[in-house]
């Protein structure tokens, strides 16, 4: 008997170890900043997954936000204010994200936060930031519920006044992909797979609705476990379903192997996904057979926009080790939006940061409007980006190549 209880203890310990890996929070005090004009340092917090599977995107966000702060300093955009970034790693986990949020709130120099990458992480942070009136601008969250409330399909209610994003929502991205797949790629039978996370399942649902509305047929659905690596059982199901295309709601660490294993199982059909799979790591994971796989991503291709040329050049000159990845441009714009809001608050207060800088900056964010890397940056009444452009990318010769840009209209 001793040994069975040992196994039970071990299992409990293993579970404990899982939750303990991301520990160490700090007390959150709701302190207000009291800058005195000359030589104030304003810290822009960055929260993103800097390690683990999604770190390629996370590090791109961190570097791009850092670049925005450096550029603002170089231009001396806000007199007497030096911008700095402080990046924390959320490991794509809501619990870690919330701890990071508390940490940012407790540091009085932090007047705005860029991030996170994952919608599920954002859910855990929103209230912490909103209570502290600390503004948060996400470059990558696409879950509609974050800005428009749980019942966004019937009644839109903005939950948190401090939350903004420069990314487009799944409510637009999913249907946009469905229209492309049905009308342009002429695929009528789809197999829908998601990873059950906030982002993936939301995207899969909006895609499915639009695809059915257009007259397409969903020949199968599957939910995968994001921790798994073996999708052979799912791949065999896809093959036998007779689907012409697979839609995957999720991110590239799973999408890559999934695409590879579906093709290996004998179903030579394209995999279509959202912005979460549009990273170069996808090709590394999916292998040579990924050619023809599609991804939608928010905005026009960063490399093609004249406004983005400068960003790409600056990024290269900045000597960052990692790629700016899918959200680099949006992260830059998110950080720049915070900088613009700080500028407005400082200008309105006679060149000084007011005592309630956080609340003022959150208010000012609503009115921010400028020409950013990704186009015009401004926010609607829910905190969503007003720029609703999307682009379809295809894998060609091991790279994402833009095939069609457009705006989704109803």
């Amino acid at each position: 008997m001793r040994q069975r209880s040992l196994i039970a203890i071990t299992a409990a310990l293993a579970a404990g170890a899982l939750t303990l890996t991301a520990c160490g929070s700090r007390d959150s005090g709701d302190k207000k900043d009291s800058g005195d004009g000359g030589g104030t340092t304003v810290v822009i917090g960055v929260d993103a997954p800097l390690t683990g599977d999604l770190s390629a995107m996370g590090l791109g966000i961190k570097n791009s936000a850092d670049l925005a702060a450096k550029n603002a300093n170089k231009q001396n955009l806000v007199k007497g204010v030096t911008f700095k970034t402080e990046a924390l790693d959320d490991q794509a986990q809501p619990s870690a994200g919330q701890q990071n949020a508390s940490k940012f709130v407790s540091e009085k120099e932090v007047l705005g936060v860029v991030g996170p990458l994952n919608s599920s992480v954002a859910e855990s942070m929103q209230k912490v930031f909103d209570d502290a009136k600390l503004v948060q601008v996400s470059p990558a969250n696409t879950g509609p519920a974050l800005t428009q409330g749980q019942d966004w399909q019937t009644k839109k209610v903005r939950g948190y006044k401090s939350y903004f994003r420069t990314a487009t929502t799944d409510a637009i991205q999913g249907p946009f992909a469905a229209q492309y797949v049905f009308n342009e790629a002429k695929k009528k039978k789809v197999f829908v797979i998601d990873d059950k996370k906030t982002y993936g399942s939301g995207l899969a649902a909006t895609f499915t609705d639009e695809f059915k509305k257009l007259g397409g047929k969903v020949v199968g659905t599957e939910h995968i476990n994001p921790d798994a690596k073996d999708f052979s059982a799912v791949a065999t199901k896809v093959k036998n379903s007779g689907a012409q295309v697979v839609y995957y709601g999720g991110e590239y660490p799973q999408a890559g192997p999934l695409s590879k294993q579906i093709k290996a199982a004998g179903a030579k059909i394209p995999l279509v996904g959202g912005d979460g799979i549009k990273d170069d790591t996808f090709m590394k994971l999916a292998g040579s057979e990924a050619t023809g796989d599609l991804a939608t991503s928010v905005g026009a291709p960063v490399e093609d926009l004249p406004s983005a040329k400068q960003f790409v050049a600056d990024y290269k000159a900045g000597g960052y080790k990692e790629e700016y990845s899918a959200y680099g441009g949006y992260a830059y714009d998110s950080a720049w939006a915070i900088i613009e809001a700080v500028k407005k608050v400082v200008d309105d207060n006679g060149g000084k940061l007011p005592d309630d800088a956080r609340a003022k900056i959150t208010e000012a964010m609503q009115g921010v409007s400028f020409d950013g890397v990704t186009g015009k940056v401004s926010f609607d009444e829910f905190g969503d980006a007003t720029n609703k452009q999307l682009t379809v990318y295809a894998v060609k010769n091991g790279a994402w190549v833009p095939v069609k840009s457009g705006t989704y209209s109803g």
Partner: protein
């Protein structure tokens, strides 16, 4: 089209990999009653050992030439770390209460993960693993990927070698004796310290073979790959009867097939479509584990060391 044969093959392949890793859990447990939670990470370091060899080899080296070297590299790295762990982390705690080495194992597991994350070049996200060239094999309507051929061959061969070693060699019999009763074995002249080191080393070697199979099968490795797989392999070891090396392999195969079939067929049962997707496969695998342990607490094949429990 009937997909059952394909799904069974999918499950068998997945299960063989669980089995290769499970052998390490079961051997160490059988001899020192320690659940070596760092074993999943030893598996992971084996994969990085193989990758290191591949990166050292000049570009364009044939995979058939590289593969044996990679296996040797994987085994060297994994065995070195396992033996080092035994010598410096577990041996000083041999007489300590059982929870002490267990906590040590968990700590070691985290330490190894973080060490690879921090010091292996570009290991902060997934690294690609070389692939065996060539298309898949088709047998009837069953497809076997080229990357899986290694697993198909390696799993039974490893198992046969292990069985021969444990049953026929002097050291193997010493191992059995130590498992049955370490004190008496010592009195009979068996060097138990050496036997324990060999158990760790053998387990690590099989994990290294499994790690190469993992890399070839999925085409990528990362610093966290050992955690989930280690947990699954531990489950397989318990399912088969912990302490029993054949049980580890059987347990692995049963677990792999159960997961695969749950993904493929549970959704077809009327009213169960919500519980059938792959994200539920683990749940069904553990339901199976609970059922087996309810009716056969000693696992499918039973423990070789049941009298000591």
């Amino acid at each position: 089209m009937n997909e059952l044969p394909q799904q069974l093959v999918n499950g068998l392949l997945l299960g063989s990999m669980y089995g290769l890793v499970a052998i390490g859990y079961t051997m160490v447990y059988g001899i020192v009653q320690l659940i070596n939670f760092a074993h999943g990470e030893i598996f992971m370091t084996g994969a990085f050992g193989a990758l290191t060899v591949w990166l050292w080899l000049p570009g364009g080296t044939s995979m058939w030439l590289a593969l044996p070297l990679m296996i040797v590299g994987a085994i060297i790295v994994a065995v070195a770390i396992a033996v080092g762990a035994e010598r410096f982390a577990y041996r000083p705690l041999r007489t300590a209460p059982r929870l002490a080495p267990l906590i040590t194992a968990i700590g070691l597991s985290l330490a190894l993960q973080q060490a690879v994350w921090a010091w292996y070049p570009e290991a902060k996200s997934a690294r690609t693993f070389p692939q065996i060239p060539g298309g898949p094999f088709e047998i009837g309507n069953v497809t076997i990927q080229t990357g899986d051929i290694f697993l198909v061959l390696a799993a039974p061969i490893s198992m046969a070698i292990l069985a021969y070693f444990v049953m026929k060699t002097r050291t193997g019999r010493g191992m059995q004796a130590t498992a049955q009763d370490p004190d008496t074995a010592k009195l009979m002249g068996v060097n138990t310290d050496r036997i324990i080191v060999i158990a760790f080393a053998l387990g690590a070697a099989f994990a290294a073979v499994g790690a190469v199979a993992y890399g070839l099968k999925y085409g990528e490795i990362n610093f966290r790959m050992g955690f989930i797989l280690g947990l699954k392999a531990f489950t397989a070891a318990v399912l088969g009867g912990i302490g029993n090396i054949y049980g580890a392999m059987i347990g692995g195969v049963v677990l792999g097939v159960a997961e695969t079939l749950a993904t493929a067929y549970i959704a077809d049962i009327p009213g169960m479509d919500k519980f059938g997707s792959q994200s539920w496969a683990d749940v069904w695998a553990f339901v199976l584990l609970i059922l087996v342990l309810l009716f056969r607490p000693q696992g499918l094949l039973g423990e070789r060391v049941a009298d000591r429990a």
